[in-house]
Structure formats: C-alpha cells, structure tokens
Symmetry: C2
Subunit: 111 residues, 2 copies
DNA sequence: GCTTTGGTCAACCATTTGGTTGAATATGGA
DNA sequence: TCCATATTCAACCAAATGGTTGACCAAAGC
C-alpha cells in the first residue's frame, strides 16, 4: 500500500535533497564534495544521501575510500507519470528549467 | 529558502492524499464523501484536506453546511517543471496514466 | 607503522507527522 | 424549537524526520 511514490515524493520534499540532486545534475560527486556547500554536518548529508539512494534517485559507488554519488533520473519517471496526469502539462523546455533551478539553488548566494 | 515545492512534494508523499487527489480527478466532492472509502476518522481526512489545500493542490468552498473539495492541478506545475528537467521525460498520455492510477488506488480492493 | 582523510554508525534531541477521541460549531430539516 | 448532519477544533499519542555529537572503520600517504 505504500508505494515507491511515497519514498520518491518524500525524498523530493526536502530542499537540501533537491539541491543535492541539482548539483548532481552537473556531474557525479564524492560525498564530501556534496556536503561542502551546506552548513550542516557530514553525517547529516550522509543521511540525506541514504534517503535519496533508497528512493532510487541516486546511486552510490565506492571507489577506494571515496564514495561517488550519481544521479538516477529514471526514478522520477513513475512520479512524473503520476503528476502529469493531473494537468496534462506540456513538456517543459530546458531553458525554463535552467532558470528555475538557478532561482532555487541556495548554494550560489548562500547566507 | 523553503519553497512551495516543499509543501507540494510533502503533500504528495502520502498515499492517502494521492488517493484523494485521484478521487477528485473524477469530480468535486464533499468532505464526508471523500472520507467515506477510507478506514480513518473524518478528522484525519479533514487534516489531509487541509494539507492538500495549503499545498494549493485542492481548494475548498463551503456551500451551505457542505464543504466542497476541488482539484487544483495547476499547483503541480512548478513541481512538474522541476522534475521533468531531470529526465526530459516525454509527455505522458492519459491512457497510461489511467492504467497507472487504477493499479495504485487502494480503495477498490481495500484490505 | 602511524596519521590523515572519507564516510558511516549510534545515541540522542526537538520538531513534525499522522492518527485518535470527544467536544464544539454551523447549517438544514421536521 | 429540536435534532440530525457536516465539519472542524483541541488535546493527546506514537512514530518518523532532520539535525547534532563522538566514536568508529577503512583506505591512502608518509
């Protein structure tokens, strides 16, 4: 009864986790590097990454002592299917998305 | 820093609330009628409806002593924009969505 | 071998969440 | 007017969430 939509949407409900996903959109990253821009302990980021992993939104692979995080956008598919059905939204162009992301990212201007 | 994406995704993270949205896709409903299929108090459903309302996913209008709930699919737009950017998902046809919904709705077969 | 670096684990804490119940507040109908 | 219906409110509860700290473990570097 609790589908994977639960975990995916719950994972997306946190701004830190969405920011992490946006960062990983650029490139794969090590855990420490993911954590760097946030004013938060490494352990906290580690937990967020675990939640994203369990939701299938990222994967983590350990090479040497470094654990690499990789975006897995396919996990968004079923959630996207679910959502789009409500509005018959037209496909979104990436320019709009890029602008949106930039207005959302708390990292560039920090606090 | 906590955007409306927080509230929208958090609202969508609960299966009861997603089921409610799916019900409202059919037609507007009174609170009592929304609650009917669930094995849960009316007060609990009322809370869920409040969360959906605050997320902008539904609106509620009181006519007489009955409060009508109405789907507001536009609230999904920004969330949809955010998500689609990750996968460049093609637009979803409604047939697929319908099938998906039916496989997800916990109400028909209950437990 | 030691020390540093990268990351997780465990225990803890405050807050939020999702549910309950019972009382309260309208409104509508007889 | 009196009663039933529709819905919320308030208090409470258990469990989950998001964060902290300090100890721990594994892999590199010297």
């Amino acid at each position: 009864m609790s589908s994977d939509l639960d975990t995916v949407f719950a994972a997306l409900a946190d701004p830190t986790r969405r920011a992490i996903l946006a960062m990983l959109l650029e490139d794969d990253m090590a855990v420490t590097d993911v954590a760097e821009p946030f004013e938060m302990s490494l352990a906290a980021i580690s937990k967020h990454l675990m939640i994203l992993t369990k939701a299938g939104l990222i994967s983590q692979e350990k090479r040497g002592r470094v654990k690499w995080c990789k975006l897995e956008p396919d996990a968004l598919r079923s959630a996207s299917v679910w959502m789009q059905g409500f509005g018959q939204f037209e496909p979104v162009n990436l320019d709009a998305f890029e602008r949106f992301l930039e207005s959302q990212l708390p990292l560039a201007d920090d606090t």
